[in-house]
Amino acid sequence: MSPTSTTATQPLRASAPIATGRNGEMRPSALAFLLLLWLSLFVAFAVLITLLITIFLTGQNKLSTALLFNFPSADPDEAGARPAILGSVWAIGATAVMTLPLGIAAAVHLEEFADRKRWFNRFIELNVQNLAAVPSIVYGLLALAFLSMLGVTNKNIVIGGAFALTLLILPVIIIATREALRAVPREIRDGSLALGATQWQTTWRQVLPASVPGIATGSILALSRALGEAAPLLVLGALVYITFDPNGLLSGYTTLPIQIFNWTGRPQEGFHELAGATSILLLAVLILMNALAIFIRNKFQKRW
């Protein structure tokens, strides 16, 4: 029984499955295997859908403008997530301002300027990979220690949380930016250098603009991850009942994930509904951010 596949040239990646003749594929064990594989994918999606449905069912009653505009309250019917929404905006805004320049600059250095043969630069690369996998709560401890060292006693300030989040997503931004920079072909750099530009001019005027879509995509995804983080902020005292709008870098604050955590821990059904509704809100924002990232990638990504 010789196989009848006629695949000629195959690219390195498995872009097309290899047909090996119908008899082999129809064997019961092969079919069972395929079924198991589809099942595992199915289970993963089933859980995802169950999660989304339960969240939606729990939270739908409380989806209203009250959620957006009211302050927290002991009465679930009157409570809203307003300080949390604004706190999230402030925290993510401050994080973006701090982490984007830092991460992009670091990535540019590692990718364009650093001599990769030197052990020090390889060490930095290894270090970045490690930092990307450190548990998020450790970043909270780091920020806590840093604030204590500075003598700041009230740890519930926006800049403290932003500091923790900045360091948390910095490795992610570096890795994503490096990927984007790597995608720009050598010819662009070579051509620029051939015309007499210095390396920095090449980077600044050719490579970076060309990799902006990739960087933008990576940054938005990283920021959306920061938006969903709660653990480091818990350590920094963001779990607090506030009746005001966070309004500055040194202001007290809380964030959407922390608010969800707060309401989840309360026994009354009304608060569970609020937690569900806030989860829906948070998921909606995350979906928007991810959609924006994908849109940027698809629309502006250059095909070299």
Binding site: A74, L86, N154, F244, P246
Partner: protein
């Protein structure tokens, strides 16, 4: 190529600026938090920082809610580090008000004095520290103090693990225990009254500074037992139920007339004298708190002050101002 780059930068910048602008001015329907007259009532601004007991926190939160209707420009924050935790921040001068479900200890008073913090103790409400069980628990409806000591004392650690060890007529079911953590005034009060010494307790239970966790734990387990402030029981009627202690069920009446003993107790707020005198918003908040204590207690489902207690509190305040 340049144009699309510019477009991306511009649109991202616009979005960021827009978001910050919205947060800065858009979302405040009732008055501003910068100086300027608020739309509803007074024009005070500034912050009032409170921290401490998670038992007292709902009361202070209710006060903050009602206060906001009068002074919307004042930022009141209520943190819950536990009574002990609250005193630590209070005696470091970081908070204006400390919520406490037990009186200040001598060591804590000494810390405050060493830091130069002068304070005033005000009784804000009453509480019947309640022992709770699951609604489907029909055997432990009345427990004596001795039985509670048997369940919760330090010697019980690892040993008293079953209900029928408490009373042979109880079913053969494992006990799960939930309660306040070590920073909590409820913890201090309960251990002192039931186990005879502040801090003496078995350690194999689920401690939390957040009483809501205790409610959740007991509500989800038929053979669980817990202890926390009465207001949480009242808020969660049907979800958990209180146990009679030495024959007396905790309620507003039994707490106010003293028959719910030894677990009836006053709840306090400690006010930093300097904050009260120097910060107008703190004075306004505390005055409001005391003057409206009955309404606040009712809103938060606490046992309100007796008439004598109200008079004492008002006098204390007058001596402050």
């Amino acid at each position: 190529m340049r144009k699309s780059t510019a477009k991306i930068f511009a649109s991202t910048a616009l979005v960021l600026v827009g978001a910050l602008a919205l947060s800065g001015c858009g979302g405040q329907p009732s008055g501003g938090d910068t100086s300027g007259s608020g739309a509803s009532g007074g024009g005070l601004t500034g912050s009032v920082n409170t921290d401490g007991s998670s038992t007292v926190a709902p009361l202070t939160e209710a006060a903050a809610d009602l206060f906001r209707d009068e002074e919307s420009g004042v930022n009141v924050s209520v943190a819950t580090s536990g009574t002990g935790g609250g005193f630590k921040t209070f005696c470091a001068g970081e908070t204006d008000v400390s919520n406490a479900s037990r009186p200040i200890k001598d060591e804590e008073a000494a810390d405050c004095e060493a830091a130069g913090i002068k304070y005033t103790e005000i009784v804000a409400a009453n509480d019947g520290l309640s022992v709770i069980v699951n609604p489907e628990n029909d055997w432990a409806e009345d427990l004596t103090v001795e039985q509670l000591n048997l369940i919760w004392g330090p010697e019980a650690e690892g040993k008293i693990t079953n209900w029928n060890q408490v009373d042979p007529s109880f079913p053969d079911q494992a006990i799960t225990l939930f309660g306040a953590g070590t920073d909590s005034g409820t913890f201090d009060y309960f251990t002192e009254e039931i186990n005879g010494e502040d801090g003496a307790i078995r350690t194999d239970y689920s401690p939390s500074e957040d009483d809501n966790i205790t409610i959740q734990g007991v509500a989800g387990d038929v053979s669980a037992i817990g202890f926390l402030g009465l207001s949480y029981v009242e808020e969660n009627e049907g979800v958990v139920k209180a146990v009679a202690v030495d024959g007396v069920m905790p309620s507003t009446e039994t707490v106010q007339d003293g028959t719910y003993t030894p677990l009836g107790r006053p709840l306090f707020i400690y006010v930093n004298n300097a904050s009260y005198v120097d910060k107008e918003q703190v004075k306004s908040f505390i005055d409001f708190y005391v003057a409206n204590s009955a309404e606040i207690a009712e809103r938060a489902l606490f046992v309100p002050l007796t008439e004598d207690q109200v008079t004492t509190a008002t006098d204390e305040l007058a001596s402050l101002g």
